[in-house]
Amino acid sequence: MNGDLLHIQDLSVRFFTYQGVVRALEGVHLAVRRGEILGLVGETGCGKSVLARSILRLIADPPGRIMGGRILFKGRDMLTLPMKEMRRIRGNDISMIFQEPMTSLNPVFTVGNQMEEVVRLHQKVSRKAARRICVEMLEQVRMPDPESVLRKYPHELSGGMRQRVMIAMELSCRPDLLIADEPTTALDVTVQAQVLHILNELTRARGTSVLFITHDLGVVAHLCDRVAVMYAGKIVETAPVDALFRSPGHPYTRGLLAAVPSVDEDREVLASIPGVVPGLIDPPAGCRFHPRCPAARKECEHLEPAGVEVGKDHWVFCHAGRGKVKGER
């Protein structure tokens, strides 16, 4: 599609461990459109972070390997790009924020050193100009006294401040896509709201697309335009936010939403859906959700469900999906 900035097609990633082959991602399809904030939700261990890291090819090999599929960014398949090209995209066209603000900045270099390094790597500017860009960015994330923050080491900043530094750093090269991997999970609730607000404001103003990974449906409802739900290494449903909350199509999504009032911990989500998350070494055949699915049928046990469009822009990967069945994708 033309509006797609990033188009992931049939992506499979496996990890080769002593315990066996972990099928972390199997045939994942996902598109991120220009200027939208796409939420990616799912329980811990379902492959969200692997997906995020695969986009920038940050999967450590060994043990991980991207087995197949395409990741089209502005029409180019990033999986076949030479490493040199790939590095030009990283941090420049696509950048990424990680979950742990405490450990994602290097403790032995100042904030300024690390920010300037990224700016000067991707933009041909002088030291002074780079410094000015950094100060501007820190101002935009509402950092008080940016000049002095640049001289500080990460351990001298609070968690919320560090995450704001990360946002400033990752947006400093005006990327087209920002991948945010649970950027607020490790923060206090009040700080969390503040950081989300800044993230929302800045990316909307710049038209930056965001792939926002979280397990917190409350945040999704608040922030995102569209949502993709992931279960055991597969996308099970994609929908505009309103449609998803109004009429969830997949039994798993319904289970997730049923647990929403107190969704802060993964464990509570699990409690409302019988059974446990399957191991990805030997996942169930057919639909991966069928052992826990209240609506499971015979074909669910051996046949992978195809996508069904149940509403405008609303796709469900389920044999029991409502509406008319579209052809194989």
């Binding site: 890291r53 920038l56 940050l58 590095r87 030009r88 995209i89 990283r90 941090g91 420049n92 950048s95 990424m96 990680f98 742990e100 450990t103 994602s104 900045l105 290097n106 403790p107 032995v108 270099f109 390094e117 990224v118 790597l121 991707h122 080491y153 351990h155 990360m166 750093m169 990752e170």
Partner: protein, 336 residues
């Protein structure tokens, strides 16, 4: 300025340690079963001479008085008189110190030049052939009897291949360069004396390698393991996700972090280097403090042995002070 205050604070902490070191050396030389006066005088001294020495040393006094006396001597730079050379031990050690310093510095340089890259490469290419080879190299290093390694090097490079000289700092007949630092390599460079420099270099290669091997093994191992630990950190992924090239990720973002544990171990392992110098200098006829002390051992020259022990231990303590300062410099999380 804050760094200076930090150093000052560390120096203050050092005072009890230094006192302890002198107490222990004092005890070894004065209170060990046996007759200290006999030990100080040497095995061949006459009975009368021993009695005289006992009185003049104040050994008939209570122990704490003796210690005060000993400390007073120390503060005036008095380590006693060598039985063998009949000169003050301090003078002897002063003569032999530069050679030991030169050898130790050369060995440390070798360790940094070889050990650091080897450790980094082993970490980057973990479980590949190079890593396995470097592991074998390290295990042999920490298990190697230094004196035997020296003899084997002599056998191979001096006797069989005849590539390198086998003893001393310079060929007989060559005049040492004018003494500025006492280090022949540096002095020869300052003088612009090429033949002497090359000759001194050829003499230092074998002993420096011999002395550095154990230390090299320790450094390689610690660099490897701390690099591996650092390479798994989130900030390294951040750096990669920002498009920073792999050499910069390794040499900037990983290396400085992994040096933090490395310098601590490196400082503590200098003890191996100082102990190893005793053996290496003996094997290669290197005229340093180590050879001096072994010669003194054979002569049972106690003032010389104790003087050496004290000086070397003080150096060890001071080196570790320097390491603490480097540590604080590398690690911004140290509040000083």
């Amino acid at each position: 300025m804050r760094l200076l205050r930090y150093i000052g604070k560390r120096l203050l902490h050092l005072v009890p340690v230094l006192l302890g070191v002198t107490v222990l050396v004092f005890f070894i030389s004065h209170a060990i079963p046996g007759d200290p006066a006999r030990m100080m005088a040497g095995q061949k001294a006459s009975r009368e001479a021993v009695e005289n020495l006992r009185r003049s040393m104040g050994l008939d006094r209570p122990l704490h008085e003796q210690y005060l006396r000993y400390m007073k001597g120390l503060l005036h730079g008095d380590l006693g008189r060598s039985v063998r050379s009949q000169r003050p031990v301090v003078e002897d050690l002063k003569d032999f110190f530069p050679a030991t310093l030169e050898l130790t510095l050369a060995s440390m340089t070798l360790c940094l030049v070889v050990g650091l890259p080897l450790g980094i490469l082993s970490a980057v290419r973990r479980n590949r052939p190079l890593d396995h080879a470097s592991r074998v190299f390290s295990v042999c290093g920490v298990s190697m009897p230094v004196f035997w390694l020296g003899l084997m090097l002599l056998l191979l490079f001096y006797r069989n291949l005849q590539w390198l000289p086998g003893s001393g700092r310079l060929d007989v007949g060559l005049d040492p360069p004018a003494s500025v630092t006492g280090l022949y390599l540096v002095d020869a460079l300052l003088e612009g004396n090429r033949p002497v420099f090359l000759n001194a270099l050829s003499h230092i290669i074998l002993p420096a390698f011999c002395l550095s091997y154990v230390y090299l093994a320790v450094i390689t191992r610690i660099v490897r393991s701390s690099m591996i630990a650092v390479m798994e950190q989130d900030y390294v992924t951040t750096a990669r996700a920002n498009g920073i090239s792999e050499p910069v990720v390794i040499l900037k973002h990983c290396l400085k972090n992994s040096l933090i544990p490395t310098v601590t171990i490196a400082g503590l392992s200098v003890g191996e280097l100082l102990g190893g110098a005793i053996l290496t200098e003996t094997i290669f006829g290197w005229p340093g403090m180590g050879k001096y002390v072994v010669d003194s051992v054979n002569f049972l020259d106690f003032p010389a042995i104790m003087g050496f022990t004290l000086v070397v231990s003080l150096s060890y303590v001071l080196i570790n002070l320097a390491v603490d300062v480097i540590y604080a410099f590398l690690n911004p999380q140290i509040r000083y």
